[in-house]
């Protein structure tokens, strides 16, 4: 594995946890799969359909999202939105994210001071 492949792999690992936070936060407003994909990509979050669609289903299985089929339009679509449990989990994850960010900034700042 060359250095570039190693970096890409580690970036994927870094993103994995943050994607859940992004998806939960975005689903405060109902979205169907492809619409959420576009929303996240517009926000600059690099994510592919083969990652997002199973993630949404998994979060629903974990009891954090609710879903319903909209058959009113020409093509039926499955809409997801965050539920109460999901809101509480999102708040807890956001708090942890902020703590990690502060720790990391302190770490980076400490290293920068030593250079």
């Amino acid at each position: 594995m060359n250095e570039n492949e190693l970096i890409q792999g580690l970036i994927t690992e870094l993103r994995r946890g943050s994607l859940t936070l992004a998806v939960l936060g975005s689903l405060r407003r109902p979205h169907y799969g492809y619409a959420l994909l576009q929303t996240l990509q517009e926000l600059g979050i690099a994510i592919e359909g083969n990652t997002l669609y199973p993630l949404m289903r998994r979060l629903e299985g974990q009891g954090l999202l609710e879903s319903s089929w909209d058959t009113a339009e020409s093509r039926p679509r499955k809409y997801y939105r965050i539920n109460e449990t999901g809101e509480r989990v999102f708040d807890a994850l956001t708090l942890e994210w902020k703590r990690m960010q502060e720790s990391f900034e302190a770490f980076v700042g400490k290293d920068a001071g030593n250079e």
Binding site: Y32, Y34, G49, N50, R58
Partner: protein
């Protein structure tokens, strides 16, 4: 219309290839959702290239199905995989070696009964029978061990048991490399013991023809050992080979010098020496015609040769002394290594 049908068929085939890998209960819902997402990713009137691009962007169906699966799917879980491979590494060589011996003996005995039996036929049938029994036995062992682990794993999952361990489960660290026993050497030792034990038994039973011819001054002798001596060799060879197999099996199992391994080496070594002394004490080792030939043709200068198998210090006693010394050395080395390993 045909074109639309073909393009729709491609999407359906993709959705099918993803959902067929999922639990039955999830297939319909996932398929419906995936189909909806794919059509959302396409323009209103997509062409073949656009459909292919979207399907390729979703990735291989097997990979996508893995993402949708509620739990990872494997036959033997990573938690017990090490134990599984370790058990296979122990059982397969033992089963293969034992069945190779049994198969070779049975095949050779069957071949010897045939009207046109000769050495080549006996050996070839013995080898082929041994190899096929060893292979079949090893496959059976592989199947049953794999099945056992797979069932135990599923049972553990269903019970919802999580891995628990305590500090007392931690193994002792081997002191150094000297206390370890090479697995390769032990397996080779096992195989060679099985092979030569089998050949020895077949030779003593007279199943494996041994061509011997000694010609001195117009007299030819065609038998080396006395028949009675060969018959008495059979149990000795069987016991010493069996104890040798046990010694090798213990070495393979423990992989270091422990008390059971040391005991195996001592018992096997003592059995070898005892067996040799027993055979050396037999009244007649060599065939009468060979003994008579040596007596009559070699003469007094080489009279010591005619004393082989009789009382008094002679060449045979020298061989026994060498074997005893070598065995004592081997046993002492095993004891030393075991004590050193236990103290570490």
């Amino acid at each position: 219309m045909e074109r639309m049908r073909a393009m729709s068929n491609l999407i359906e085939r993709y959705v099918y290839d993803v959902t067929r890998r999922l639990p039955q209960a999830d297939r319909e819902e996932v398929g419906r959702e995936l189909r909806s997402n794919i059509f959302d990713m396409l323009p209103d009137e997509p062409d073949q290239g656009e459909i292919e691009a979207v399907l390729l962007s979703l990735g291989a169906p097997a990979r996508l199905a893995e993402q949708y699966r509620p739990r990872p799917r494997y036959l033997i879980s990573p938690a017990v995989y090490d134990s599984y491979t370790k058990l296979l590494g122990l059982v397969l060589p033992i089963v293969g070696s034992v069945l190779m011996v049994l198969g070779a003996v049975m095949g050779s005995l069957e071949a010897a009964k045939l009207p046109a039996a000769d050495a080549v036929r006996v050996i070839s049938l013995g080898v082929s029978s041994g190899v096929s029994m060893a292979f079949e036995g090893a496959l059976q062992a592989l199947f049953w061990i794999t099945l056992g682990f797979a069932i135990a794993d599923r049972y553990r999952d269903q019970q919802g048991k999580t891995e628990t361990w305590s500090l007392s489960d931690l193994p002792e660290i081997p002191a150094d490399e000297a206390s370890g026993i090479s697995l390769t050497e032990s397996i080779v030792e096992l195989g060679l013991t099985a092979l030569f034990g089998t050949l020895g038994i077949l030779f003593c039973l007279g199943v494996l023809p041994f061509v011997f011819a000694l010609r001195l001054e117009q007299i030819q002798v065609n038998t080396l050992f006395a028949p009675g001596f060969l018959r008495s060799c059979v149990p000795v060879v069987a016991v010493t080979a069996g104890l040798g197999l046990v010694e090798s099996a213990l070495k393979i199992y423990y992989r270091r010098w422990t008390v059971p391994v040391c005991a195996g080496v001592l018992v096997s070594g003592l059995a070898n020496v005892a067996g040799l002394f027993y055979l050396a004490g037999r009244p007649e080792i060599f065939s009468r015609e060979l003994s008579a030939l040596l007596d009559s043709t070699i003469g007094r200068d080489l009279a010591f040769l005619s004393q082989l198998g009789s009382r008094g210090f002679n060449l045979l006693h020298l061989v026994l002394v060498v074997v005893v010394v070598a065995t004592v050395f081997e046993c002492a080395s095993a004891v030393y290594k075991t004590v050193k390993s236990q103290r570490a």
